[in-house]
């Protein structure tokens, strides 16, 4: 490939949003057989200092020569040592990402998307419901709220996966379970040996826990089918469409609202999302 006739890039997202920052993999964590977490730092000090985001925003993570894919930044904004991405092996780019080792170079383009609207959640009881890889977008907001614990009412988390081996962030769960100012419930789909927590599908466990909708916001992330039944369960409990918040996935390329493919009606998931309230989703054409 010839770079004649081209100039070295200033690598400034605000000037050219197609150019990624070059970053280095600091750490690789094997979460589950299908999910790996990567901790990445940007090489340029200035770019790193400029890189701020709000919980729920995403970035395009890339391997030069392979391609980009979109992931939520699942570390909280207060973490200034690295950006954390959890990658489920699914397609071409994610397969290659799973081959990365500490010290390897990646591209990071972002922050992109709207992120969670935290302000109206202040003073309210927060109920997180995460399924499988859906824990990633919740993690950043969950940790952000713990950073500002006094701004919120009761904080609860219901986190489920198929089996104990499919729970990501298992190394963090014990400390969350122990905290007196949190209420954490774990569940798996089917019985497993030595499993001390709940067994059952997330919507069923949710109905059983029956959180009160009064002065509360529910934040739901997970596979589409889990979101569907969890949202139904929340509505039965009395949560209104403005108090149910979720994140959408869509195939993305540019991440900046130009390339066209992630639209649902007039909304582009890459810039208008990925976070939507149920009320917003209900106003979109039925094309999920």
């Amino acid at each position: 490939m010839n770079v004649t006739g081209m100039r070295p890039s200033a690598a400034d997202f605000s000037v050219n949003p197609f150019v990624p920052y070059v970053g280095t993999v600091l750490d690789v964590i094997e979460e589950t057989p299908a999910i790996k977490t990567f901790r990445v730092c940007l090489d340029e000090r200035e770019a790193w200092e400029r890189f701020t985001f709000i919980p729920g925003q995403v970035a395009q993570l890339s391997i030069f020569g392979v391609g980009e894919a979109t992931f939520v930044i699942n570390s909280p904004p207060s973490c200034r040592d690295y950006l954390q991405f959890s990658v489920m092996r699914a397609g071409e780019v994610t397969n290659r990402l799973h081959g990365l080792s500490v010290g390897d170079k990646v591209g990071v383009r972002g922050p992109l998307g709207n992120g969670f609207n935290v302000e109206p959640m202040k003073g309210k009881n927060i109920f997180f419901v995460g399924g499988g890889i859906g824990m990633a977008p919740l993690r950043t907001l969950f940790l952000h709220m713990l950073d500002h614990r006094n701004d919120f009412g009761a904080i609860s988390l219901l986190y489920g996966a198929r089996s104990p081996q499919d729970l990501s962030y298992s190394y963090e769960l014990p400390q969350w379970l122990e905290r007196a100012d949190l209420s954490v419930t774990l569940t798996i789909d089917r019985e497993a040996p030595d499993w001390p927590h709940r067994v059952g599908l997330i919507p069923h466990v949710l109905a059983d826990l029956a959180p009160s909708p009064d002065n509360a916001v529910a934040i739901v992330c997970g596979p589409p089918i889990m979101i569907r039944f969890t949202v139904e369960a929340l509505q039965k409990l009395g949560f209104g469409p403005h108090d149910i918040v979720t994140t959408l996935e869509r195939r993305m390329k540019c991440g900046i609202g130009l390339c066209g493919r992630c639209n649902i009606g007039t909304k582009y998931v890459c810039v208008d999302g990925p976070v939507f309230t149920l009320a917003e989703l209900q106003s979109l054409p039925d094309e999920l």
Partner: protein, 358 residues
Amino acid sequence: MSYFLPHDRLESWLDDLERTHRVFAPTAEGRGVVFRRRKPTAESPAAPVCLERRPTESARHVLFPRSEVLLAFRSAHDESGTRVEVFEQEAPAPQVIVGLRACDAKGFAVMDRVYMHGRYADPLYTARRKATVMAVLACVPGNGPDNACFCHWFASGHEEHDAADIVLTPASGGFLIAPVSDKGAEFMESHAGYLEQGNEELENAAAAQRLAAREFLEKHCPAPALSKTETAIMRQFGNSMLWETIGEPCLACGVCTHLCPSCYCFTITDETRGNAGARIRSWDTCLNAGYTLEASGHNPRAAKAQRLKNRIAHKFAYYPALHMGKSSCVGCGKCIRSCPVGVDIRAAVFRVLAADEE
């Protein structure tokens, strides 16, 4: 201020523009009329310009190439580890597109709202757009509107100057040339060497020709109530019978999107050779099944009818909702003329409106 360019000086004038600008103009190639860089040299003159027939493609690729390098990269390894260098395109040279029609120019106005004035500006498009002068050739009877044209639906016609800098109208054995923007006026001042002064008589004759073209359009294909398309499409969104009927003959080949002056979707792919490579942006089409296919295997628009619905809905509902009621279709008719199975976007719009009135 207007100018007159006699027909026999057209080629010389175009060659003269090369002093300051890269010139793109329509050229006849087989049955097509396509936009090419002229690049005349002392040894080989430029291929003759073809202004007698309507271009068969839009000029979109001049500002938004079918495929281009978004960035290049090169990695180097040594004892201290790996370094990756990233490169961007240089700023574009000034250029002029001569002989695009008003509908094609309007396509750039459609793109400008998204690519220059959206939440993120596309730096490559924006730089080229600013460096480009648009010299539009007005359609006149005998050299313009045919049965597939419907630019009058959107006021894309010749008295509207969306994105145009200069308008050339065939008149009295040559062209009346009128600047319609400051950029166009400035351009004409430095390129008037081969031109004569225009006059009121020529201006009136040119205006009459343009009006005649417009009258032809209004007679052969009256416009529907475009203000109703947005609501009608959204109300009929779930009417799968309707969309399947509209999409039934479609081959999902994407020729409509590739010839369209206002389709602007793209994909991004990486290529490498050795320790260097490039991230490349190429035109894509929402009619391609892979366009929305997710890594999980889920596809929100798996059916052809859903994809054609997206194209029509984007032009006549989504884009107008986001851009003050303006449609992103410009009525050039290229998709109608070139569809191998005769899908007619006008018929689709009429069908949706009719279904919604039932």
